[in-house]
């Protein structure tokens, strides 16, 4: 799977098409701008972020208790609960449930967890028919590519490319690239799948310990069409997706869509606590490296992530290198701090795919210290695997073109970047020699932040 050796190498392919790189950059910048507008419209935005962060800290400190609580309440609601220690267990539990229910045809809505577990190829190998139903996911499924963004899976594709794909797969007229017409074609094609599916597989945005249910959010309504029509619903949830109380949803629901796309809320936010008459719901709680990550003191807060994608949209490196350059299911800044925990050897290059501008920290709705963790991972990589880290830096340094691009966005970013980041960006046309200046930068930022805190106290 991960045969791409490093981010810089993968990115160089992407940036070799300058026009496409600009276009990709602009598309994501637009989403970032919408997020800013939406966030500014909420008076108590910063207070909400702090609350979300505090709630998630509490979740990490009591995760076992909340999981037991969720399980008990879910069982009482009539939801069947399964536990999977790793991807393999997860996949075989899904296959087992499908087999026991004689299900062959499966409609799926977006789930980064099932991507992470490689569920689709696993089931297809066994002869199951799998339909990804989120439009972006459907596009990348038909292309046989992984998603390049967690909220907008096909953000890297142009409408003309999607037009020719749909022409080939769904018989739309040759040369047709109107998004309205292409969406309609996919709608009609997938409607048939929804009406005849044996099972629906969905992800979970939030599991609620107190009430034993879960929330699934979409704009398209695809998760709902799947789970309300098929007789069987399998919901796959990473164990960190839990929140303690129903009331906590008010905080997260105010933050999630605004951070993700700049909408005030997703169109459909479904709260599932029991199957409809005659149907069944299975909830799979998946660890797959999460408990191991929880033990890493400096890095555990990465598990607070609610997968909004804001850190990707704002990241100057992500915007210009594309999601695929991270060669991981979870790309962007959050991917760069979570993936090395799962596989340091395979993903040790990712913490270097950053300018450490700190923009990710500023937008993250649960206040994860992403860029500090990027820096810490660089040290871990350097200590344990010096050759790889050095190689990644060296490879990056050899790409003057990428460097120039980063420098120019840096300046643009400087106009909007807050505090210390602005200073840093203004003063530099090109990223500096990493080792020394990163240390300086972090020290500078940390002292700036503690000054900030002191100011507030005083």
């Amino acid at each position: 799977m991960k045969n791409v050796s490093d981010h810089a190498q993968a990115a160089s392919t992407f940036v070799s098409d300058a026009a496409r790189t600009d276009w990709h950059d602009e598309s994501l910048w637009q989403v970032r701008s919408k997020r800013d507008t939406a966030a500014r419209a909420v008076d108590d935005w910063e207070e909400l972020r702090q609350m979300a962060s505090d709630i998630k800290d509490n979740v990490l400190a009591n995760l076992d208790t909340y999981l037991i609580q969720l399980e008990k309440a879910a069982l009482a609601n009539g939801i069947e609960v399964h536990w999977a220690a790793d991807a393999e267990e997860h996949n075989s539990i899904v296959a087992d449930i499908l087999a026991k229910n004689n299900a062959r045809k499966v409609v799926k809505s977006k789930s980064m967890l099932t991507e992470e577990c490689g569920l689709n190829p696993f089931l297809e190998e066994k002869g199951y028919e799998i339909f990804d139903t989120d439009l972006g996911e459907r596009i990348v499924q038909l292309l046989d590519e992984p998603p390049s963004h967690i909220v907008m899976p096909a953000i890297h594709k142009k409408k003309s490319e999607i037009g020719s794909l749909f022409h080939e797969k769904m018989g739309t007229p040759a040369g047709e690239s109107d998004p309205q017409i292409l969406t309609e074609a996919a709608r009609q094609d997938l409607r048939k799948a929804f009406l005849s599916a044996d099972a629906a597989i969905t992800g979970v945005n939030f599991g609620i310990a107190e009430t034993g249910g879960f929330v699934v959010c979409t704009n398209e309504g695809n998760a709902d069409l799947g789970m309300h029509l098929a007789p069987l619903h399998i919901a796959c949830m990473g164990i960190e997706k839990i929140i303690p109380r129903a009331a906590d949803l008010s905080v997260f629901m105010r933050l999630l869509a605004r951070s993700a796309t700049g909408q005030p809320v997703t169109i459909y936010s479904s709260h599932i606590h029991a199957p409809r008459p005659g149907a069944r719901i299975h909830l799979i709680l998946v660890d797959n490296g999460r408990s191991e990550h929880l033990a890493r003191e400096k890095f555990r807060s990465g598990l607070k992530c609610i997968r909004c994608g804001a850190c990707m949209n704002t990241c100057p490196v992500y915007r210009r290198s594309g999601g695929h350059s991270y060669h991981a299911t979870l790309p962007g800044p959050i991917g760069a701090i979570l993936n090395p925990g799962f596989d340091l050897k395979g993903y040790g290059d990712l913490p270097f795919a950053s300018t450490l501008c700190g923009s990710c920290n500023d937008v993250c709705p649960v206040k994860i210290d992403i860029h500090e963790q990027l820096f810490h991972w660089r040290q871990v990589v350097k200590e344990g695997q010096a050759p790889l880290g050095v190689k990644a830096v060296a490879a990056t340094m050899k790409r003057p073109r990428l460097f120039k691009l980063l420098g120019s966005i840096g300046k643009r970013l400087a106009r909007i970047a807050p505090g210390p980041a602005r200073k840093w960006l203004e003063s530099r046309d090109l990223p500096p020699v990493p080792r020394k200046s990163l240390g300086e930068l972090l020290a500078e930022r940390e002292s700036a932040q503690s000054n900030d805190r002191d100011d507030r106290k005083g």
Partner: protein
């Protein structure tokens, strides 16, 4: 047996890995919001997401929904009885709603800050009724509109029924080059009737 093992393994791993520091859950209740005109904001947010809003008198519901001309075909109602509409509870399978023109039911709480409307199983009867028809209309009393999600979650009980949902517009997607398309997999239009 094997599942018990996975459960115990995960819980043991989590319990030894988690931070041992105590953290306090913030109080999220009783947040006071200063919203001057909730109904106007509710309306704006719904219109921004592509919904059509009708502010009407309580006895004008029937006339209003009969005037809709977005789509032609069979029309269904949920928890609100309407002349010339079929009771959605009378259909055998939810899949029969495919191709229906319109579905109408009541919403319980409206949220000004985002245009979302909460409803649950007892309102829509069939969960799929909110998604298969070409158009959906939700009826909400003006007095049920609250400023933010905090007030909304205080009023509703999310597990009172097996299914509850916030609906905030017609189904949409922007997955092709970020171009907004209304009518992704679900309804192509959402009407909201605010009654007083």
């Amino acid at each position: 047996m094997t599942e018990m093992t996975a459960r115990d393994k995960i819980l043991a791993a989590v319990s030894s890995a988690r931070p041992q520091t105590s953290t306090i859950l913030p109080d999220v209740s009783g947040r006071v919001s200063q919203q001057s005109d909730s109904i106007a904001l509710f309306r704006t947010n719904l219109e921004n997401s592509g919904a059509k809003v009708h502010v009407i008198g309580k006895n004008e519901i029937e006339d209003t929904v009969n005037d809709f001309s977005d789509f032609y075909g069979q029309r269904f109602h949920g928890d609100i009885a309407l002349r010339d509409f079929t009771n959605v509870g009378s259909i055998a399978a939810p899949a029969d709603l495919d191709g229906a023109a319109l579905f109408v039911c009541t919403g319980q709480v409206g949220v000004a800050e985002n245009g979302a409307i909460w409803l649950s199983d007892s309102n829509c009867i069939h969960r799929a009724a909110l998604f298969l028809p070409e158009a959906v209309a939700l009826v909400i009393e003006a007095t049920s509109i609250v400023p933010t999600m905090h007030e909304a979650y205080e009023q509703i009980q999310i597990d009172a029924e097996g299914f509850g949902i916030f609906v905030a517009g017609p189904s949409k997607t922007a997955d092709i080059e970020q171009s907004l398309v209304i009518g992704a997999h679900g309804p192509r239009s959402l009407h909201v009737l605010i009654t007083s």
